[in-house]
C-alpha cells in the first residue's frame, strides 16, 4: 500500500504540481483531499480510481503505465508531451471560471522573478470581498481599465503595492482602484 502511495506521489511530483492543481486540471474529478489521503497511504484506493489517475497523468503528457502504478514493474514514468500538457490550460481556465464566481483570468505581461511568475504565465484570481491588512499577491483593476499585478496590502486610505524585484513601493489612492482580485492559481507552461 505504501509503495503505491509513493508512486502516486511520484507521478504528481514529476509534473511539479500541487494537489489542488491536479483537482483543477482534472476538472474536479480528482479531489485534492482524496489525493492527499492516497499519497499518504491513509486510505484504500480502488482500481477504478487508479485507472483514473493513470488516464489523467497520461493526458498531462506523462508516459506512465497502469502496471507500473500497481506493481512498480515496467518503465518508470517520464514526461512525454509538454504540448498536450500546455494545451490542457484551455480546459483548466473554463473549469476555474466555473468554480469561482467573480473571478478573472489574466496573462502576466511581465516576469516577477522573486514571485516565480514569468511573462506568459496565466493567473486566476478572485475578487476580494473584505479588506485585509495581510500582504497578498493581487491583480488590481484600476478605474481607467488598466491592471497591476503585484504584492498588495490594503489600508483604510490606500492600496500599497510592492515590487520585490525593483524594491519599489507604490501607494494608490482608493479612488483609483476599481477592484482587487486575489491570485489563487498560477498556471505555468512546461
Amino acid at each position: 500500500m505504501k509503495d503505491i502511495a509513493n508512486r502516486i506521489r511520484e507521478l504528481r511530483e514529476l509534473l511539479e504540481i500541487s494537489r489542488k492543481e491536479v483537482e483543477i486540471r482534472s476538472n474536479g474529478v480528482i479531489k485534492a483531499s482524496s489525493l492527499s489521503s492516497f499519497e499518504n497511504a491513509q486510505s484504500q484506493i480502488s482500481i477504478s480510481y487508479l485507472k483514473q489517475l493513470v488516464t489523467f497523468y497520461q493526458q498531462q503528457g506523462v508516459d506512465v503505465g497502469f502496471d507500473w502504478l500497481i506493481t512498480g514493474n515496467g518503465p518508470a514514468p517520464t514526461e512525454s508531451s509538454t504540448l498536450e500538457s500546455n494545451l490542457a490550460v484551455i480546459k483548466e481556465i473554463s473549469f476555474f471560471k466555473k468554480m469561482n464566481d467573480n473571478s478573472i483570468i489574466y496573462t502576466s505581461p511581465k516576469s516577477i522573478p522573486s514571485l516565480n511568475i514569468e511573462q506568459g504565465d496565466i493567473v486566476g484570481a478572485v475578487k476580494t470581498k473584505k479588506r485585509t491588512q495581510k500582504t497578498k499577491l493581487c491583480l488590481i483593476r484600476l478605474t481607467d481599465g488598466e491592471y497591476i499585478l503585484a504584492l498588495t496590502r490594503e489600508s483604510s486610505e490606500n492600496i500599497i503595492t510592492f515590487d520585490p524585484d525593483q524594491a519599489e513601493v507604490n501607494s494608490l489612492p482608493l479612488e483609483m482602484v476599481e477592484d482587487i482580485y486575489e491570485i489563487i492559481w498560477i498556471r505555468k507552461f512546461l
Partner: protein, 164 residues
C-alpha cells in the same frame, strides 16, 4: 526584437486556395463556429503565413500591426523559455493606446476570443490561431487539444508537401 522586421521575407497564402486547408477551415466553422484560422511558420527571416482572412492579414502582416500586438508579443517572449505556449486572447490585457486600438481594429473585422498556440524548435517557430466572432465570448471553450493537434497536423502536412 520586432516580430516582423523590414527585411523579413513573408509569403502569404489564403487558406481558401488550398482544398485540404479549406476543408479543415470549413470543418472547424461547422464544428466550433471558428471564423478565423491562421498558421505561420518561421525559419530565420522567412515566414510562411496562411490565413482565412486576407483583409486582416494586410493589416497584421503588411502593415506590421503584429509588432504591436500584445498577444503575439507575450507568446513569443514566453516561448523563449518554453517549447510551447497557449494564449487565450481574452486573458491578455491590451493597454490603452496602440494595443487597445489594435484590439478594437481586429474586432471590427469580427475576429475575437481567439486561442493561439506557439511552438518553438531549435530552427523553427510555428503559430496557430483559431478565433470566433465578436459576439461569441465562449468560443475558446470549444477549442480542445484534439482540434488544435489535428489542425496543426494538416498545416504541417501542407508545408511538407510544398518542400520549402
Amino acid at each position: 526584437m520586432k516580430i516582423l522586421s523590414s527585411n523579413a521575407h513573408v509569403i502569404t497564402i489564403p487558406i481558401q486556395e488550398h482544398k485540404g486547408l479549406e476543408t479543415l477551415f470549413l470543418g472547424l466553422t461547422k464544428e466550433i463556429k471558428c471564423s478565423y484560422l491562421t498558421y505561420m511558420i518561421e525559419y530565420k527571416s522567412c515566414k510562411l503565413y496562411l490565413t482565412s482572412n486576407e483583409a486582416w492579414k494586410n493589416e497584421l502582416i503588411s502593415n506590421q500591426l503584429m509588432n504591436s500586438c500584445p498577444i503575439y508579443d507575450n507568446a513569443f517572449k514566453a516561448l523563449e523559455r518554453h517549447e510551447s505556449i497557449v494564449t487565450i486572447w481574452d486573458t491578455v490585457h491590451h493597454k490603452r493606446g496602440v494595443e487597445k486600438d489594435i484590439k478594437d481594429y481586429r474586432t471590427s473585422f469580427d475576429i475575437a476570443h481567439g486561442v493561439g498556440l506557439a511552438i518553438s524548435s531549435p530552427e523553427w517557430r510555428e503559430s496557430l490561431v483559431l478565433a470566433g466572432k465578436r459576439d461569441d465570448p465562449f468560443f475558446y471553450e470549444r477549442v480542445n487539444s484534439v482540434i488544435i493537434q489535428n489542425s496543426l497536423s494538416k498545416f504541417r502536412t501542407f508545408i511538407a508537401s510544398r518542400k520549402i
